[in-house]
Amino acid sequence: MNTPLTTTKADIKVEGERVLTVKHWTERLFSFRIERPQSFRFRSGEFVMIGLQGCNGKPLLRAYSIASPSWDEALEFYSIKVPDGPLTSRLQLIQPEDRIIMRPKPTGTLVLDALLPGNRLYMFATGTGIAPFASLMRDPETYEKFEQVILVHTCRYKAELAYGKALVTNLRSDPLIGEIAADKLVHYTTVTQEDHPRKGRITERIQSGVLFADLNVPLMNPLTDRAMICGSMGLNSDLKQQLNAFGLTEGANNRPAEFVLEKAFVG
């Protein structure tokens, strides 16, 4: 472990990075920002291991996508709350000034480097799978590389879309990339468990073509379209088959191609 040691007012050595802010979005979802260690570098879209000191004295760590862009001076994370989850049952109680342990080895496949150049970038997320895209949609490089960026977010309930909606709203008034994002970023939401104008799974809307009709874009094709997927195992595997059927192939850091996918980590 390479976490810095810091001294508190009480002169007790505490491991970890300082929590700056915490925001609870629903009973099941919250986000928080922590201090970014000065030497810590990552690519927008990557994840790291973060957590708390466990009861047995060992750190209790889980993989979390970094939701903030690589230029941000703080690190943001977006988490589910699992009542009996070993980590999130405790993590949801954090307050500003608390400490988060972070293992400083960022990694992941949801990075722009793993995609071949293209015109249109789809970012498909379910639930907290929006986190890596929260990073990428705030990175100017995303808009330098693509003419259109389509964030597709599916949640069980409408209230769970709030984090993504706030991100998009705030992004449009961002002094750095607000203007370009307003032109290029499209936010498309669906809800599976309650009434909504776009009710249902995203894979059904792809199958029926409704997604493309709604967006007023042609069907996906490997010459122009690129995609990133971050969802449940079921979504990832279904969507992967659909993208394969459109002729897109899966890429990786050492083998860029037309789409990449990662599991949305749960606490």
């Binding site: 994840f47 960022p106 990694t107 992941g108 890429g251 990786a252 850091n253 050492n254 599991k263």
Partner: protein, 114 residues
């Protein structure tokens, strides 16, 4: 659940997987890598990085033998945390499917004495 290194790695050992593993759970033998199933967090990032497609989720059928090799060797081989050059004959052995007879159970030779 864990990911498992299978025989495609033997005599190639490209180590692209090592550079992306968030928990450093790869262990290095003389001519193959393995994953410690107790340490793997199942993130799946290494799977598409392997040029030999030699990393698979243990949910795939027929991997029992390799899962056992991964678990056993991870206990005795040294951990590897940085990418290194592939083995000199990696190209020659690339894509050859039947390589399990060539598996060495010896640990990787350390690059320098400590």
């Amino acid at each position: 659940m864990t990911y498992v290194v299978v025989e495609g790695c033997i005599n190639c050992k490209h180590t692209d997987c090592v550079s992306v593993c968030p928990v450093d759970c790869f262990y290095e033998g003389e001519n193959m890598l393995v994953i410690d199933p107790d340490e793997c967090i199942d993130c799946g990032v290494c799977e598409p990085e392997c040029p030999e497609d030699a990393i698979l989720p243990d949910t795939e059928p027929g991997l029992e033998k390799w899962l056992e090799i991964n678990a056993d060797m991870a206990k005795v081989w040294p951990v590897i945390v940085d990418q290194i050059d592939p083995l000199p004959d990696a190209k020659k052995w690339s894509g050859i499917s039947e390589k399990s007879d060539h598996l060495s159970r010896s640990p990787a030779k350390q690059a320098f004495c400590q």
